[in-house]
Amino acid sequence: MSWIREGELNLLEKISANILMAGPMPKHVAFIMDGNRRFARKKKLERHDGHMQGFNKLAETLRWCKHLNIPEVTVYAFSIENFKRSKEEVDGLLDLARQKFERLLEEQENLEKHGVCIRVLGDLNMLPLDLQEVIAKAVVMTKNHNKCFLNVCFAYTSRYEITNAVREMAWGVEQGLIKASDVSEALLSECLYSSNSPNPDLLIRTSGEVRLSDFLLWQTSHSCLVFQSVLWPEYSFWNLCEAIVQYQLNHKSIQKARELHREEQALQQLEADCACIAEHLQHQGNGKPADAQRRQEALQHYTVAREERVQDFLQALKHKRDTFFTNLCSETVLT
């Protein structure tokens, strides 16, 4: 079945959508699509069929999000922890992924028409090479689309993502692109797999489990978390509306918390820069305390230099990541 569902909302759905869109809407929604196996047990199906139904529900949810003007969706498709499941189930899931990504490649025109950009986030090195190649093709094919964005977390856990970001910053230090003192919360965020997306406004977990399961822990520190008891394959438009209403009820307090956090971050960065300047001037100076004007000038220069270093590093990182995908694509051309 296709990734893209055509079709409009029915009248009642359209009216409800218009009512909701009168208020603040989330620009980025993340889903933990939990409940496929329980659904299969409930309907006396095979586990594999449960996962298939789960994928179909994903396609439908994307259609609803498009009609609700939600441009970005992130989904938790496969956790690194899932590798611990039985070989049969893991192989089944990887096969399903292979099928779906291959299907995606056939829908190139449709994806272009709707402007869908697909990104896959995770430690893709853990996947079999052929799956990596199919994923790379899908990502490269839709790279320049910019109407809506689907981020699929595959072979992903938040701790691996954060560790990888720290490793990338250490690589930047090794290459002489940045200094260790340039490390900050903002820089770490830019090194995450999800650096091309804003943080999710709303995180929805289905099937009634109330836990985060190592998903987007860094990015959802100031997001609205909604836990719904419906199983993922049974998710409906009204469940989505309910979650959006929760977001709208908490919108103001979340915005306030985000603003406070931004101010604190800016203050911390300023303090860090001042500390670096103080150290630098101490080394340069001859025991006399530097005057305020000299300190101010030094601070400005330092900040500009730091920002330039950081930009160069981020460009190099982006190039490294793009090369990873294009190399995988060219390998399939050669074979």
């Binding site: 720290v166 250490a170 900050s184």
Partner: protein, 236 residues
């Protein structure tokens, strides 16, 4: 048309807020209602998740509400809480409290901490968004000690727990002395501590003591738990 939708949206949110306020008002009233059948019915209607009953206290419970044992003393309270903890299928090892209230109540938080410890939870962490508990750490610790005396009696911070094995021929007594650990956290212990750990690692890389390839989830984990880098050398 947009104006109409806007009005309906405002009405919808107002209705949801009224429903929430009514539900929390009813929940408060519910506590004063005696009669377990009525309590269970209202709980089923109003609570979003089912509350599991303690199997041991189901039949022949002599103390069904807190109001009854006001005069019975700390000792019976403690043994009741300990047996409640034992009768649970699973007990969390570590409970985290995220306190989002506008006005912080040290007594209420101290009570929750003492109950957690009495039931057998080994670690309790308390967090608030402005770091107020951390700034007034000593006041909170004093309040916890005070509530320990009020609710549990006994000496300062060690609890003796007697665990009776159910269903065996001879009851076996395991006396466990557990000293629960309470941590008070603030936003600095969140992302900020990860950034500090990252900076430490990058400094080591700058000094050529470590390579970026040495950085793994377990290395970062150890660093965050407070051990120094030098005591964990990379395997070359």
């Amino acid at each position: 048309m947009a104006l109409l939708y806007g009005l309906i949206w405002r009405l919808l949110l107002a209705l949801v807020r009224i429903k929430r306020a009514t539900v929390s008002w009813l929940r408060v009233r519910l506590r004063t209602w005696k009669g377990s059948f009525w309590q269970r019915t209202m709980a089923a209607l109003l609570l979003p998740v089912p509350v599991s009953e303690f199997k041991q206290n189901k039949a022949g419970a002599n103390q069904s509400s807190d109001g009854d044992d006001d005069g019975k003393g700390a000792g019976s309270r403690r043994s009741r809480w300990i047996s409640d903890g034992i009768s649970l299928e699973k007990l969390p090892v570590h409970i985290g409290l995220v306190v989002a209230e506008e006005e912080l109540s040290y007594t209420d938080i101290a009570n929750i901490v003492v109950w957690c410890m009495a039931v057998g939870v080994s670690y309790v962490s308390v967090y608030d968004h402005h770091g107020i508990f951390q700034k007034n750490n000593s006041s909170l610790q004093e309040e916890i000690v005070r509530q320990q005396h009020n609710l549990l009696g006994g000496d300062d911070s060690t609890f003796n727990m007697e665990l009776l094995k159910n269903g065996s021929d001879k009851p076996q007594h395991f006396v466990v002395s557990c000293r629960p650990i309470v941590k008070v956290l603030s936003p600095e212990d969140g992302k900020h501590s990860i950034v500090q750990a990252a900076r430490k690692l990058c400094h080591s890389v700058e000094k050529k003591e470590w390579s970026s390839k040495d950085i793994s989830v377990s290395v970062l984990d150890i660093l965050l738990r407070g051990l120094t880098l030098r005591s964990y050398a990379p395997v070359l």
